[in-house]
Symmetry: C2
Subunit: 191 residues, 2 copies
């Protein structure tokens, strides 16, 4: 299954404004992931975070070039993901290998990237990352969208689903759980 998990502010942003290498999540946007990186992590948050990139279930990662560019400096020598990552881009470059993580660049569109990620993931899931990629996939071929609703106000930034056609897809809530600070909801996406 093709899945995405995004943390969203109460005013509907999945990243703050001015995303760049110094602030990969935009201004204030790192607060969206405080639940993932808390020193004393809530048990519910720990479970949800662990499932997002569990090697037992996630076989490949799909992302936009921008997500790679602003993220890779933060992802360490092992590249964090430790599985094949497919990067949608207009500028071809040779694969980047960091430990068990490989970043392969796909220049003929997101649908091709999805195909290659599926082939690579086999029976496992694909985890999609990045505002543009997720928005495109929600209108396209995504099977499941998970959101974590974070009670912060960013005021501006990248919206989760901005400018989609009304009801372009049907979303069915299939699970909801909350920790002390945030709420996690999973939706199945139907066309």
């Amino acid at each position: 299954m093709l899945k995405a998990h995004v943390s969203v502010s109460l005013d509907g942003f999945m990243a703050g404004p001015d995303v760049n290498v110094e602030q990969a999540m935009g201004r204030g946007g790192e607060d969206l992931h405080a639940w993932q990186f808390a020193e004393q992590q809530d048990p519910i948050d720990r479970e949800v975070a662990a499932a997002m990139f569990s090697t037992a279930t996630v076989g490949a990662v799909l992302m936009g070039r921008r997500t790679l560019d602003v993220g890779i400096g933060h992802w360490g020598d092992d590249g964090t993901f430790e599985r094949p990552c497919f990067v949608v881009t207009h500028r071809l470059r040779a694969p980047v290998v960091k430990g068990a993580t490989t970043f392969t660049f796909i220049t003929d569109g997101i649908d091709t990237a999805v195909e290659q990620a599926r082939a690579s993931a086999g029976d496992k899931d694909i985890n999609a990352m990045g505002a543009d990629v997720i928005r495109h996939l929600v209108a396209g071929s995504i099977d499941e969208l998970s959101i974590t609703l974070v009670p912060i106000i960013l005021g501006a930034g990248a919206t989760l689903l901005g400018d989609l056609t009304p009801n372009v897809v049907q979303l069915d809530q299939i699970d909801a759980r909350h920790s002390a600070t945030v709420t996690h909801v999973r939706y199945r996406v139907r066309r």
Copy 2:
């Protein structure tokens, strides 16, 4: 306490576009309240809906003139609310009485309307309605904001918190529960 409860689409809208008397919630916006008006209502949804306007806890209602104008035709001969309602407006008019519901028009600003609603509500809560009023109050004097996250995509409309100053307030999640179709989350608002 001054409270508001809004149903929000997954793309962050609390009403669809083109709000008017024929479609008080804007285009597609009535789907935001399907959980409230389902024939076979989920028990969780029933509890949440009942609490929103419980006469045991809510002593007054605060709304904008637009909310009144597009809503009153739908609210029946008893005016639905059966308690004092305060309407923020620029155009003074005489109070409107519908059964146990009175609509009093306040022309000197939302803060005055809040004061009058507080005086009228006594120890009970005030329930604020309408996009502009709620947005103003979130940045102002609201104590609690409840949202119901509804998995529909409206594409356009009135945003829940659009254009607020980043982190103008602190929001603490104090409760979260879900029915089969939607998720209800309550936040305490701190300044």
